[in-house]
Each structure stands twice: as C-alpha cells, then as structure tokens.
C-alpha cells in the first residue's frame, strides 16, 4: 500500500480493527460460556484477558500514522483555531504584513529589473562600458562619454577586449515608407557593436567595416517589429533602399524579435566614428566584451595605460587624475536610477522592520495573556519544544498569509509603479515578479516570522511555572516586559523619524524646484517637435523657407495669439558652444548655451526683454548678424558693463549684441547640480545660422514650434500639423507637449522620490502610532487593579492618566532622540538628491519631531481615557 492509498484507506482500516477486536472478545466470551461460566463472568474474563481495548486499538492505529506529520497537522489546526478566535488581531497582523511585504516586493522588482536580472545577451557579465574616472580636489566622478581618439586607442591598444562604439542615446528621425512618413528611433552603432553583444540578424548581416567608414555606403539594420509593421515582413527586403532622413539607405539586415540594444531603437545605422567633428567631443560610448580567460584587473590595467590627449588638456595644471576603466555594462545602464532605487529599498526595509517590531509587541501581549495556559500545559507535561513550536506556528501562519497577500498587492501595483519610473529606467526591462523576486519575498517573510516570534520566545524563557499560573496578567504589570515593549516602540519611532525627515527633505527640495521662477509663462503654450535631420534641409535656404512658411501658417490658426520656432525650449537641454567676446581686452573665451529662434519666440513664451530689442523680420541672412543675451550671460561675462553694442564671435561669425532678456530655467548642461537651473544663454535669429553648424544642430536636436493661445483650443495639434504640411507635406511632428509638461518631465524623478518616500513615511507614522497606542492600551488593561488601588488611595484621575500614559511618551521621546542621531547619517546619504535645502535643515527636523511627538502624545493619552471609567471599588472586589 503506498502512502497515498494509506491516507484514504485509513478510515477503513480503523473500522476493520474495531470489528475484529469486538469479534475476538465475543468469540472468547462464547467459548467461556460453553465451558460453564455465566454470561457476566465470561464477558468480564474475556475483557480482562484481552487487556485494555482502547489502548490496544490506539497502538494499532499508531502503526499506520506518520507521528511527526500528524502532530504538526494537529498543531496547525490549533493555531488556526486560536487565530480564528481573535479575527481583529489576525486581520491587523495580516494587513500590516501585507503592506510591509507588498512594498518590499514591489521595490525589489525594480532592483531586480535594474541591477540583478542579467542583460539579454550571452555571457552578460563579460560586457562592460569604458568609462573615465575623474578624481580632483572637488571630489570624484565618472564620465561615460568618450571621444573618437579614445575609441581608436581602445580598439587598437586593448588586446584583451573586443570593443565597439555607439551613440549613448538614440535620435528621432523620419522614415519615408510608401506615401507616409513615420517618426522612428535610430541608434548609431559601429560595425563591431552587434558582434560584441552577440546579436545575430535573422536576415542579412551586421554592418561591414566599409559601411562604418565616414563616407561608406549608407546601410541600415531594421528591428523585427519595424520590418513587420512597416515593411509587412517583406522577405525580399535585403538590398532594397528606404528613405531615411530624406536620404536613401540600403537595408542590410533584420534583427531578431524583441532585440534590445543599449538604447530604445527601431533601426540602426553605422556610427562612422571619426576623430574630427563630433568625434572631437565626448559623443561616443564604448562597449567592450572581455575575451575568454581575461580578468577584469587585466582589462583595467590595459585601459589605465591609455592616455587620450583630452586628459592632458582637461587636467592642465590642476591637481586632477583621469583614467579609463571597465565598468560592468549592467551597472552603467542602471546608474541613472540605481542610487534612487537603493535609497528606496532601504526605506521599505525600514517599513518591514517597523511593522515587525509592532507585531512583535502585539504578539508579546498575546503570549503574556496565554501565560497561565502555557504554564498549565507545561505542568501537564508538554515539552518546551512543543510550546516553542506552537509559539512559532502562529507568526509563521500570519507571516505566510501576509506574504501571499503582499505578493498579490505588489503584482497589482506593478503597472502603476512602472509608470512612475522614468523611461530610461523602464527600457532596461519590464517589471515582473520572477523567481528571484519570489525568493526575496519568501526570505523577507521568513525574517518577519523570526522577528515577530523572537520576543515572545524570549519571554517564554522567563515564564516560571508557579508565577505565571497564579498571577496571570492581573497583577502589577511586569516591569521587565514593559521595558521590552518600550524599547521596541522606541526603535519604531526612531526609524519613523528617519523616514519622516528624509521625506521632508525631499518634499522641500521639490517645493524649492517647483516654485523657483522659471523665467517664462508656460501656461497655454503648445509645443511640437519635428526632426530636421534630413538631407532636404541641409541647405540653409530650404531651412529658412520652411521656418518662414510654417510659422506664418501657424499664426493664422484661429485663436492662436502668436507662434514661433526655436532650436530648444526653456527647461529643455540646450546646445553648448564656445563664444569669444571680441571687444573685451584679451578676447576672453567662454562656454554658453546657444539657441536660434524666430522673432516671436520671446513674446510667445513671455520671456521679459530687459534692455535693447529682440529680433525682427528685418534681421535676415544678409543683414548685420545680431544676438540677444540672457541676464546671467551679461552678469557673468560682462560684469555689469553695458552689453548692448558689444560683439561676440561663435562658429566663425561675429554677432552684435542688441538686447538682454530674462533668464529661463534649463536642465544642467554646463555645470552639474539641480535638475533645473539658470545658465548663461545667447540667442541668434534662425535666419542668421551658419550653414555648417545648422546640420550639426539638427543631428542632436529637434527644433520646436510653439504657439500661445488664450486658453485650451480643441483640435490645436491637428491644426498645427496642417500648418506644417502647408510648408512641407512630408514632414511629421514627432510629438506634441504642453509647455508646462517640460517642467514636470524635468522634475519627474524628484516627484517619484517624494511620492514614494512620503507614502512610506506615512505608513511608518501610522504603524508607530498603532504601536504606542497598543502599548498604553494594554497597560491600562493589565494595571486595572493597580489603578483601582491608586485611585482608592486618593490619586487624582489626571495623575493616574499621566502615570500610565507616560510610558508611551517616554518610549516615543527616546525613539525621537535615537532617530535624530540616525537621521544625521541618512541625511548625508541623500545629500546628492537635495537642492535648495541643506541636509540638516532645521525646519524639516523640527516639523518631523513635532509631528511624531504630537501623534505619540495623542496615542498615549487616548487609551488612558478608559481609566476615567474604572470604578475602584468594583475592580478591587473583582480580584
């Protein structure tokens, strides 16, 4: 009989056994009667000779049992029954754990997607990016961009790696497919790129070295998805030409479905790396694969020996060190969100700790209430092991229930969570509950079980038989136990303070960034972008015509107050360029943001003109080149001298400064720092751009058309597209944005951090309040008799309330002190995320402390109200 049959045959076995034994006794009785005994005598003798029927039956049944399993089963049944008897307690614990484990699981899915899940390439842990480490007096940093010379050095002088170069970000470009034009993403990669990643095309082949030369044949690789949707999976696609950026490109291959490269892209073109032009700046990223048997240290030594010329130029006579090394590709790709996610992981870890501390307190009370029962059972011979097992079972059941509910909660929140993440983080992989996440959750659940069960178990060691049985919870509360609970609550409060202060600092950062003057009015401004990285616009005259006609058409849209066009918008990354102030002694050179604009740009955005004039229709390609500088430009480079009338030289042209306009916010381009800040900027008329520079601009930037309306207008975007079509029917807008979205986008990450940390801090606060309330509340119950005596002896109600409530307040106060000390450390950790507020911001800390203290006071005093209802006489009688 196998175990399965045994399990089901058990009932039958028991029945047979009982029948058999009954028959045995009857047979014996009848034989004894036949031998001459009376029926009574015979029955008694038969039973005596058989022995204890019940015992023998029990022993016989035991043969079929798995004793350990049966005991555990029984204990589970007991624990479940015990939990069902107090549904309030059970639900509270499960709900708390669900929240705590749920947020941990959810955040872990991000950590998993970002840092743990292997990249979708063969041997992903042999892939690396070549990055520059810069160590100077002002600290150290990394730079992932490399120039053309560095690429050649790594390619030719680092024999232990297989190297490739690529553009770190993809560009939006126009693809002409039949009659329509599609806006797609292009990533430029060198010939070696797909070999290094070990991606093999399903059709055709990767780029040849000829195609990767500066003037090589124009080739393109398509993504499987693009091939399917735009080219109907045409099997004859190889060798055909497609019109990309207005130029014919030959399709040389199609990549497998679902291919992910280092940036989101629909098609790939050769990088054609060079050491001039874009190759002079750090516009490339370098990807390497370690060859077999090569160690990371070996690679770093090889890379460290390479000294591109730019190192010497940058270092000059400053005390700086720069060197190249290999950073694992995964770390590089995750670096944008990695730190924030780790901060978040710490925060949710705190939540789990707080929740467990709270529940440990709750369970401790329960165990104390069960003291007499446990003592009785031990007196009746239950072993310590049995009791321990039982005390562990309850938290285990609760934690597993909470863990399962938490996983469900996390799974449900994944969608909204992935929306919160910025797109470059999302790209690396979809969030999902994979086996790693589930293992993490299981471990978290197990830890929770241990944390929750630990205190009651320690308590058990203290349980002395006699003491517990007689005194139960009625007498003066055991001061040792109270102290244990107070310590727990102090710990909770300390962790809460850390979270509250952290959230407070981030909130103040966000408020600072959001309320900082943007320098323009984003309300009621619609923007549209289009890619001019197109052969048809390499000619400046064609570009001028497009700008003139499209802006004029947009001005005619009914309801539009003004329309303009510019290379970049405020709160959008701008072009950096070198300028020379030719009138000043020594002709100083500076770096500044540069934007080309049409005349109505300033009025449409309502950027104030501080002095002089802005551009007019009179500033044309043949008139005197003029420019307008921002206030910061004037202050910084002209030190209060009269700006108007002076001249600046850039890209081989000299412009006369004709006006000064107000500053607008920009994402940091020149200096590191806050996500939005003021940087020096100069504007030139779109009509007076240098032909060569124009083509370069449009490789990197998509210019924006902007219109201001008095209020929201229906169908505005369609009208804008029609207006653009009047100038060029084959040019699609790549996207429309409300001007105010730019600020939201720039502060996306801050907003996400604030949102998540505030939710967590709120959760921690609620848990701490529950903890304090629970402590005082249980003290009131335990000390009813003591309170009765105090009151009978003449203590006032107020004093008694204070005496009892005090323990909660003391615990909270101790927790606050420890929490402040802890926050001093953690505030330093998030310093990099703070703007406009110092890590030791007194306002934040005072507010956090006040908030928590008030909450703790209320939570401590609320339960003592019950004291007023205690009647001294009746409590004393009840004893």
């Amino acid at each position: 009989m196998n175990w399965f049959q045994q399990l089901f045959a058990r009932h039958r076995l028991h029945q047979d056994l009982s029948d058999e034994i009954r028959e045995h006794i009857e047979e014996k009785t009848e034989e004894l009667i036949a031998a001459g005994m009376t029926r009574e005598e015979a029955a008694a003798t038969a039973r005596r000779e058989f022995g204890n029927v019940l015992l023998q039956e029990e022993r016989s049944r035991d043969v079929w049992r798995w004793p350990a399993l049966d005991t555990v089963f029984l204990e589970f049944k007991h624990a479940f029954r015990y939990l069902r008897r107090s549904p309030g307690f059970t639900l509270t614990v499960i709900a708390t754990l669900m929240l705590a484990i749920g947020v941990n699981t959810a955040v872990f899915t991000i950590v998993d997607a970002l840092l743990l899940r292997p990249l979708p390439y063969p041997e992903p842990n042999r892939l690396a990016s070549v990055v520059t480490n810069i160590t100077g007096e002002s600290g150290s940093g990394l730079s992932t961009g490399q120039d053309g010379e560095t690429w050649e050095l790594v390619r030719d002088h680092a024999p232990s790696v297989q190297a490739a170069a690529y553009k770190l970000t993809s560009n939006g470009v126009n693809l002409q497919a039949g009659a329509s034009i599609r806006y797609v993403h292009e990533q430029r990669v060198s010939a070696e790129y797909f070999d290094v990643l070990a991606i093999h095309p399903i059709l055709g082949s990767v780029f040849t070295h000829e195609e990767d030369l500066p003037d090589g044949p124009k080739a393109v690789l398509l993504s499987y998805e693009l091939w399917n949707s735009v080219f109907n999976a045409d099997p004859e696609i190889l060798g055909k030409t497609i019109l990309l950026k207005g130029e014919p490109y030959t399709v040389v291959g199609v990549l497998p479905a679902g291919t992910k490269t280092t940036a989101p892209a629909d098609l790939w073109t050769p990088l054609r790396p060079k050491t001039t032009g874009e190759g002079e700046g750090i516009n490339y990223a370098l990807l390497v694969r370690l060859k077999d048997g090569v160690s990371w240290a070996q690679v770093d030594t090889e890379l460290g020996r390479l000294r591109p010329h730019r190192f010497a130029l940058w270092i000059g006579n400053r005390k700086m060190k720069m060197w190249l090394y290999a950073m694992p590709l995964q770390r590089h790709l995750a670096s944008s969100g990695g730190d924030a996610v780790l901060i978040l992981m710490c925060a949710v870890g705190f939540i789990l700790l707080i929740a467990c501390t709270n529940l440990a307190g709750l369970l401790l009370v329960r165990v104390m209430q069960r003291g007499p029962e446990i003592a009785t059972r031990m007196a009746l011979g239950a072993t310590r092991a049995t009791i321990v097992r039982q005390l562990m079972l309850e938290p285990l059941i609760l934690a597993v229930a909470g863990g399962v509910a938490g996983v469900i909660l996390a799974a449900a929140s994944l969608d909204s969570l992935s929306k919160l993440l910025s797109s470059d983080v999302r790209f690396i992989g979809a969030l999902s509950l994979d086996s790693r996440t589930l293992v993490f959750t299981a471990v978290a659940t197990l830890c929770a079980t241990l944390l929750i069960a630990l205190l009651p178990l320690l308590e058990l060691r203290r349980t002395e038989l006699g003491f517990s049985r007689t005194t139960s919870g009625r007498s003066v509360a055991h001061s040792g136990r109270r102290r244990t609970r107070q310590t727990l609550i102090a710990a909770e409060v300390a962790l809460t303070i850390v979270l509250l202060a952290g959230a407070g600092l981030l909130i103040r950062t966000l408020v600072y960034l959001e309320t900082k003057p943007s320098g323009f009015d984003p309300q009621n401004v619609m923007t549209a972008q289009a890619s001019l990285n197109d052969a048809r616009y390499h000619d400046a005259a064609a570009f001028q015509k497009l700008v003139r006609e499209s802006v004029a058409a947009m001005e005619k849209i009914p309801g539009v107050k003004s329309a303009a066009m510019g290379l970049t918008l405020p709160q959008e990354q701008a072009l950096n360029t070198g300028v020379t102030l030719v009138d000043l002694p020594g002709k100083p050179q500076y770096i500044s943001n540069e934007v080309y604009v049409t005349p109505e740009y300033f009025s449409t955005l309502q950027i104030p003109v501080l002095s002089g004039r802005t551009f007019t229709e009179g500033d044309t390609a043949v008139s005197q080149p003029v420019c307008v500088v921002s206030q910061k430009f004037a202050q910084r480079f002209l030190n209060g001298m009269e700006a108007v009338g002076r001249h600046l030289e850039t890209e081989g042209m000299t412009y006369e400064i004709v006006g000064i306009v107000g500053d607008v916010q920009k994402p940091p381009g020149l200096s590191g720092g806050a996500p939005l800040l003021i940087e020096q900027t100069f504007y030139i008329p779109a009509t007076q751009t240098n032909q060569g520079a124009l083509n370069m601009y449009h490789v990197w930037f998509q210019p924006s058309w902007i219109v201001r309306t008095p209020g929201p207008i229906g169908g505005l975007t369609a009208a804008m597209q029609r207006a653009l079509a009047e100038a060029d029917p084959a040019l699609p807008f790549s996207g429309f944005h409300q001007m105010r979205d730019f600020q939201n986008e720039a502060l996306d990450r801050q907003r996400m951090e604030v949102f998540l940390l505030s939710v967590l801090a709120g959760l921690a606060l609620v848990l701490s309040i529950i903890g304090v309330y629970g402590l005082v509340s249980s003290l009131v119950t335990q000390r009813t008799r003591e309170i009765g005596i105090r009151m009978a002896l003449g203590s006032t109600l107020r004093r008694t309330m204070f005496e009892i409530g005090k323990s909660g307040v003391i615990a909270a106060a101790a927790g606050i002190v420890v929490g402040l000390a802890l926050s001093a450390v953690t505030a330093r950790l998030i310093e990099a995320e703070l703007y406009g507020v110092r890590p030791y911001d007194p306002v934040t800390f005072i507010l956090s402390v006040l908030l928590l203290l008030t909450a703790a006071l209320i939570a401590s005093l609320a339960p003592t109200v019950r004291i007023a209802r205690i009647d001294p006489a009746s409590t004393l009688r009840a004893e």
Binding site: M1, L13, D16, L17, D19, E20, I21, E23, H24, E26, E27, K28, E49, F50, G51, N52, V53, L55, Q56, E57, R59, S60, R61, D62, V63, W64
Partner: protein, 113 residues
C-alpha cells in the same frame, strides 16, 4: 505484580511467533492467540490484545495479508495469511534467533573446571 516466571518478551519476539504460527496455516486473531498460548504451555503470558498492534505492524510491512472470512465455528473473522515476503523474513529471523539463543545457552551453561 508480576510473577518471577513471567518475563516481558524481547522486541520482535511476538511477531516471530505469529509469523511462525501462520507458516503452518492462515488463522484469525483469536485462534492465533489461543494457539500461541497452548503451544507455549501457558509459559509465555501474552496479553491477547497486544496481538493486534503487532498484526497491524506486519500488515504495514507486507509480511501478512488479511481477509474477512468465516471461521470453523461459522463466525465472521479476519483471517491472516503469510505473504512470500513474510515467509522469507521469518526464515531469516528464526535462524538469527537460533544463533543468538545458542550463544546465550553457551554463556549460561556451567563452566567446566
């Protein structure tokens, strides 16, 4: 109180006796008890009930199998029968028991001086 001539059986002894008895012919529980009592001349006092846990153990081991049937006195009884595995087992047990008994007897026999 136990009398001196009554000793507890050593573990496995009851099983061995049952298997040995069943080797001759299949029997039901009561008949088994009677047979063991008579053949041992009442020297071995076995509590009749203790037969049943032993029988269940052997059922579980697969040494015996049981079927409901009718006894010679026309009672509905559960008759136990030795399985091939049980037959093999009893042979091993008996021979090892005999070796043990021989050893004990040698030790207990008077020493020749």
């Amino acid at each position: 109180m136990k009398e001196l001539n009554q000793r507890d059986l050593f573990p496995g002894a009851l099983e061995m006796m049952i298997l040995q008895t069943l080797k001759r012919k299949p029997l039901h529980g009561y008949a088994l008890a009677q047979h063991i009592k008579q053949t041992s001349n009442d020297l071995l006092q076995v509590e009749e009930g203790s037969l049943y846990p032993a029988l269940q153990r052997m059922l579980k081991q697969g040494w015996v199998k049981a079927e409901w049937g009718l006894s010679s006195t026309n009672r509905r009884v559960r008759i136990y029968q030795l399985t091939p595995a049980g037959r093999k087992h009893v042979q091993q047990e008996v021979s090892s028991f005999e070796r043990m008994l021989e050893g004990i007897t040698r030790v207990l026999s008077p020493v020749k001086s």
